[in-house]
Each structure stands twice: as C-alpha cells, then as structure tokens.
Symmetry: C2
Subunit: 500 residues, 2 copies
C-alpha cells in the first residue's frame, strides 16, 4: 500500500511511533518485520543525480548568481528539503554511482575508478542494487540518463533492477570521440561510437542502441530525459504500486553544449548555460510531481555525483566552493558536493552539517519502506532514517574512507581528514596501471592531517599537533581491513595486472 493514499496524519503518526528498527538492528531485519513496515509507508522516490557539479555551483551552496548562473528551482527545492552541507561522495562518476546504487564502497564491486572502454570491470550480477531492493517490496522502477557502471548486458540498468532504461551507458565526453578520431585520421568502428540506449527488463537481453550520441544530441539529451521523466511520472502517479525513478542528468559534465533555449543564458559561458538548463529540467520534473498531485507522497533526492572537473576542461567546469581540489583527487572538493532530500511532512526542511554519504541512501530507503539490505556482504552505508525523520539529532555517520583505484588514500573522522600517503595530485584518479593488492594501505609514515572546518582548503597540515588522531582513525581502517579477510575486493576498475 502506498501512503499517497493515506492522510498526512497517518504518515506523521508513523514517523513519531518510533516503531522503526534502530540502525544496528536493521541489518538483521527479518522478512516479517519488513512486512509490517510495508503496510505503513511506500512513498514514490524520484532520485536525480547531476554529473560533475561542484559544491560551490548552486545558489543554495553560495553559487547561483554569485557564479553568474541562477539556479532558482533547485534552490527552492533545497528550501523544502533537508540540505546537507556535508554530503559526501566518492572521487568520480563511476565510484559514486556504484556506491549509491549498492550501499557499499565502490571498491567492493571493483568500480573505484571511472570506467573506460576496454576495462573488464562492470557492475556484477551478484550486486544487489537500490532498484532491486525497492522492486522486492513492490516498486515500479525506471532509469533515465547516464549510467556509467558498465556496458555489458549483466551490468545494464534493465538487468540490475530497473524495469526500463533509456540513456547513455558511458559518459558525455564520448560525444567528442567521433570528431576527435576523424581529426586524428582514424575512422571509429561502430563499437567505438557513442550511443543512446534503451532496454526493457525481461524483453531485452542487452540494451539496444537508439541512435548515436553526437554533439547535437548532447545539446538536447537532458530535454529528452526531462520529457521522459515527466511522462513516466504522469503515467505512474495513479498506480497502486509506488515508483522509483532515477534520473541521471548528463549536465554539467564536459562538454557542455546547451539546448537552444539555454545557449548563452549565463554570464560565464557554456558551463553556466548548462547549469541553468539543469536547473530548468529539474524544475520540470518537480512540476510534474506537483501536477500529478503526489508531492506529499514522493521523496525527492537531488545530488551531484562528485566535485567539479576543473583544470583539464577550463572554462567548462565548476567550482568546489571553499574547498580544495576537484574530481579524481582525494581533496575535499572532490568528495563533498551538493545533496538534499525532500519528503513533505516527514523530513523537516533544514540545512544540516551532519555527515551523509551517498551510499547511506540505500539502507535509509530500506528502513523507510521496509526493504531488506543484504547481510552476506559488508554494507558500508548506514541507515540515516532516525536522523532524517527527526527522531535523533545527529547523523549516524562519523567517518568515511576514500579510495582511489585500489588504494585507501584518506580517512575522515568527524571534521578531520587524514591522508595515508602523499596527497594524490588532482586528476590522477582516472586510471592507474600498477601492481596492487586491494588490501594494501600505502603510507608515507606520518599521516597528513587537516581540520576541514578550520582549514577548508586543506593548506595546513596539523598532523604533528594532532597525533592523538592516529588511534581514532586507525580503528576505522582496521575495521575495513578486517572485512577484506572474508570479502576480498575484486581488482580495481581499469586495472591492468602486470603481475607481481
């Protein structure tokens, strides 16, 4: 049963009843208890993910007009949401998407670097996704947009819990490939061209190419995603079953060519135009929810997958706001970005500096809807339902590990960031070819420590003054390493093993 047909008083009583499982107990929730919850609340979930948008880009995060690009619709959504100022992700597109959809560090599924063509890595059939978890408790599911978790059939959205899929399986820089290859005097094979794909669960073994993902298509792809999202919401708003719609916007990932309506709209060029279009398309989805009359019964999540891509693509990149670095690095600007969740009447609109990781959504949703998380593998996401629903003041998360490829490079504990090896230079997270062992923790001796509140740009290493920290963060490192004994990681993505 879907709460959208229940009055808000019922919904509130549920939220206040305290009958939800505590975070610790959740991992072992029995099917019976899950069944009990199933009868209380199954909101629709519309999950929107931006691509390479930085912490400092949206108006509600200090950007917007200050950055020459208004973002009124997302700012409005933020004012109706719990907006996280410490929303934490992994250092790249593939890693964050894997972590979000599995509730686990991406390294556990071998997806800790942005996937490139030719890599054997992919989202394994054995992984249980957020969509599969929700489908198990009765949700209709759909995925629109960028996927970037592998091109082979087993890893495609419609084979990973989504009833239907339409979008791009890899990333947007591929729209440049055909032109670049031509300039280089090389004619791409059909397999090397970029496509827009679609797939229907149970019908298509593999996704089918719809048409080529060209630079012209790059301009309009998100308009089409918005059209399809609006259509899906309208079609499913009155269904008995709740729905889970994931929209993976392609904006503002390089190269940013906007649709005609937004071309030249910002004062900062194509990046700003693209962010303004992203804001507009987000607004169209929000309008569709409102027009369908399901606003009160719909959770809306809006997040970016990682920090901005800056140095290599200037001026077609974003801002990490007060933080250092960009995607691919381990700096704060890589792993802290925009994130918010709206659930009218259940989640109090606010700004909160508690830690929330993208991989926390899945166990939190499981708690909301009575879904089940696996107990046979390590789950790194934590159930944040108590915090989000106001039953506790603080986040359940106090730490986060950051991996680049096969290496554990940084640990956060509260407002400290500890680097276990010399800080990875920006942009090095894309591909690493070396002999590695997934359990290896490289170190240069004394760790580097930054107080991310006192020093948002991580310019002052306070490791010598804060050696007491070593004991604190080591417990998380040891905790993680112990999980590897029974559950070793697969090789990191794009990994080429030259043997040891």
């Amino acid at each position: 049963m879907n709460t959208r047909r229940e009055g808000p008083s019922v919904a509130k009583a549920w939220a206040r009843s305290g009958c939800l499982l505590a975070a610790a107990a959740l991992a072992s929730a029995t099917p019976q208890r899950a069944q009990a919850q199933e009868e209380t609340a199954k909101p629709n979930i519309v999950f929107m993910m931006a691509d390479n948008l930085g912490y400092g880009d949206l108006g509600c995060y200090g950007g917007g007009e200050v950055r020459g690009m208004h973002t009124p619709r997302i700012d409005q959504l933020a004012s109706e949401s719990l907006r996280f100022t410490q929303f934490l992700v992994e250092p790249g597109c593939t890693p964050t998407r894997a972590a979000t959809l599995t509730g686990r560090y991406s390294i556990r599924s071998g997806l800790s670097l942005a996937l490139v063509r030719g890599t054997p890595n992919t989202l394994a059939d054995e992984e249980v996704t957020m969509a599969e978890m929700l489908k198990d408790v009765g949700y209709s599911t759909a995925y629109l947009g960028k996927w970037h978790l592998g091109m082979d059939p087993q890893s495609q959205p419609h084979n990973q819990g989504f009833d239907s899929y339409f979008g791009i399986l890899n990333s947007t820089d591929e729209t440049l490939f055909a032109e670049s290859m031509k300039r280089a005097g090389y004619t791409p094979t059909d397999a090397e061209r970029a496509y827009i794909w679609s797939g229907i669960a149970g019908e298509d073994e593999a996704a089918k190419p719809v048409r080529e993902y060209t630079l012209d298509e790059r301009r309009t792809i998100d308009v089409e995603l918005a059209d399809r999202a609006v259509g899906y919401i309208g079609e499913h708003a009155r269904d008995e079953a709740p729905f889970f719609l994931f929209v993976g916007w392609t904006r503002p990932h390089f190269p940013n060519y906007a649709s005609e309506e937004f071309d030249g709209r910002s004062t900062i060029g194509i990046y700003g135009d693209s962010v303004m279009e992203l804001d507009h398309n987000t607004g169209r989805v929000l309008d569709a929810i409102e027009e369908a009359g399901i606003e009160d019964d719909t959770i809306v999540v809006w997040m970016s997958d990682n920090g901005p891509w800056k140095t290599m693509v200037w001026p077609d990149g974003g801002s990490a706001g007060p933080f250092r670095g960009e995607l691919g690095s381990a700096w704060e600007g890589s792993i802290r970005t925009a994130g918010m969740i709206k659930w009218p009447g259940r989640i109090e609109p606010a700004k909160d500096n508690g830690m929330f990781a993208a991989m926390d959504f899945m166990p939190t949703f499981a708690s909301f809807v009575g879904g089940e998380m696996r107990t046979d593998v390590p789950i790194d996401g934590v159930d944040q339902s108590g915090w989000l629903l106001g039953r506790q003041d603080d986040s359940n998360r106090e730490h986060l590990l950051t991996f680049i490829g096969g290496d554990l490079v940084a640990v956060r504990w509260r407002h400290y960031r500890v680097y276990l090896q010399d800080v990875i230079p920006a942009g090095s997270g894309y591909i690493r070819m070396e002999c590695t062992n997934a359990a290896r923790i490289p170190t240069n001796g004394y760790p580097r420590v930054f107080n991310i509140e006192a020093d948002p740009r991580e310019e002052h290493d306070v490791g010598a003054y804060e050696t007491w920290m070593i004991g604190k963060f080591m417990q998380y490192v040891v905790q993680y390493v112990r999980t590897l004994e029974e559950h070793p990681n697969p090789p990191a993505s794009n990994f080429v093993d030259f043997g040891e």
Copy 2:
C-alpha cells in the same frame, strides 16, 4: 520626527510614493527638499562592523557549522535583511572604515593603508563623516569600539560627529605589544602602550585613556561594547531624536582570545570561539532593539571591514570562502565580505548579488533621512536607496576601484576584475615606502582580467580573450583620474616620502 512613532502603513506609503530623489538628483539636493524628507522617515541606525571576518565565515555565507562555529544570531539577522553576496570593501581596516564613514575612496583622505603608529596620516578635520551628516538632521550619535582612523585629537570619533566614544583607537594586535616588547628586552613607554579610550564631544578635547588594552582586556572588550550598546539603546529608545549607534566589534581580529563563556566553544580553536562570541554579542544588541520596542523603526547594518587575515596568523584567521586571497591584497577574497541591511517593512528580506560598496551606505542613508552629501569634493559612494527600497531592480553600482597605498591596482566592472599591474602579493598592503604620486597608475602593459563569476579563485587570466574590456574599465579610470585635477589626493597613509 522619527518614524518609529508612525505606523507601518505610513512607512510603506512613503516607500512606495516614489518621492525620494533619484540618485543623480541627490548630489544637488536642496536643503528645502531635504527638509521635506526629514518629516517622513528618520529611523534609528545601528551599524555593526566586524573586524577581519572573511566572506566564508558566517553560516549565511556557507560557513557557520561548516566552519565549526555556529552563527545563529547573525544568520537570523541575514534572513530578515537584504543580504549582499557582492558586498565590496577596501583591502584593510583603516581604508574600509575611512570609506564607510566618508562615502569616498579612502585614498582621498590619505587613509588607504592600515594606520600604524608614527604615521602623520589621520582622518582630517575637513572630512565630513556619516555621523556629522546624520547629526545635521537631528540624530544622536555614539561610537563604540575599534576606530583605527588616527590617534590625534582631530581624528577621534567624538571630534568627528559622534557625541560620545568608548573603545580602542588603533587595533587589537596592539594587545600583544607589551609582552612582545618585554621579551625583546625593551620597556614600552606609556605612549607606546595600548589603551581603551573614551571621549565626550564638547567636553574632551582629546580622548582619555580608560585603562590599558591588555590581553586580559582583549578577552572581555566586546562584552563591554555589547553592555554599553545595550545600555545606549535602552537609554535612547524613547528619545524624540533618532539615534545612530556605531559598534566597531574587535572580533575576530587576531589575537582572538574569547571571554570565559566562549573559550573552547568551537571545534576549530580560538578563531571559531571568537566568531561565536561575535555572534552572541550581536544577538545581545539585536535583543536590546527588540526589547526596546523599536525594531520596526531601526535600520540594522552588519558588515565586515575586509577579508580574513590568514597566512600570517594561522590558525587564528578566517576563510574567504570560494575566493582567492586575504586582506591587504587586491584579490577578491580581500575586498568581498559579509554585508547586510535590515529595515522592517521597508527593505524586503532577500539575498541579492547586486554590487554594494561600504561607501554606498552614507549617500544611501542621506537619501533615507534627508541628509546632505557634500558637493564640493568627489563622492564615490552611490545612493542605493531606490534599489534597497524596491523601487528599482538593480544596484546603481557597476564598478569599483581598488587601491593599495598610493596605487590604483584593480578595477571591477560588472563581473570582471582587471588588474593594472602584476597582482600584489597577499599581505603587501600594510606599508609601502616608495616614491609615489597619488595620480600614478602603474601598469605592466596588458592588464590581467578575471571573470569573477566563472572563476571565483582568479586562476585563469582571460585578458587575451577579453581585450574589449579595456575600453570599458578605462572609462572609470579616466573618470577617477579627472577628479584628481581639482582634488589631488593627500599622500597615502604610512607614506614616507624619500623625494623623487
């Protein structure tokens, strides 16, 4: 007559009547017209200025909890104010204070560098201050706190339009002098010690030392300023005459030792403790306004004088948020900081990215209260009343010049920043001893140009792509230089002329 005895409907009718003088006409406002306005609105004005607080420090500017220091009271004030995201100042304490109180670039009064002991520079008797302008139309006036516009009698607050003065004439680093001198084996003379001063207009020719400004006093000085502000507001709330109270907080200027109540309250050490105390003391002043029942008839301004002092004083310094640099430099992080204005029922609470310079307050207030700005000298501040009161959409300001010492070093036009010489390294704005001519505009040939919206950290010089800009900003340079023919600047502060 003071509007605080008028209902809000009268106040609103006044705001909408459009009878206020347009910006252009204001400079030549006749006393008769000023008289007409005088009968319409004379709100109290409580003007609070923080010391060296960075753009990224307050919660409402993306700091607060993110920076390990809550600022709930100022954030609340911001939500009731027009909050400027492009609030522009000069690169140091003395310059911004001079510009704010005279409505002119500080270089015009020879105060374009932070005053140090021994300089002949001081706020000249001939300058007309904001306090003198307001006093002329019937205001009671008082100054509490840091002054930093000269120690000689002519320049002291009670001789510059303030009925009374209590505070420190120089700056807070002086609290370290006695200890430092002692360590150096030197015994400071009485004249070299730092003091807290007081002065009454008409009674004291020169301010009198109250007691020494020691490190212990540094802990409690702002508590005393808040006590006195609260007392002043209570005493004057029922007066027939409106009042103008200027509170020059000493926080969070280095060295930041907090009062007992706030010692150790933040997670980032003494700087955070100090900002939290600043927030609390601000709240006490706001509470006093509310408790006196004059909230609707009181304009509250809250601003910082310049960007943070960072490099030299780490960890006792702030954050410039997304911007580069710190006080003393010409970078954006030096000249953009926190600024907001509240006037219930008249100024719509909002966040606005229009340009507002600290020196715009004086002509804007003159417009509000029917005061007069001088017409015999160049006035660089612009009347922003139309924008603030919602009679026009946009700010009247499109450009700003930035000086360091005797040099014009940067020009802003809209979202472009143009540097006329090699960028001044951080911290160089404190003292310059060289042969200089106030009209000199040094240049290294091609100017450096940054798009401050696309590139908040000013890392990408787009001068080669934006040569069209040269004509735009040169018109403001020429405009300024022309004013020097009739009104040459005095030597820049701390200026030591070795002859040419």
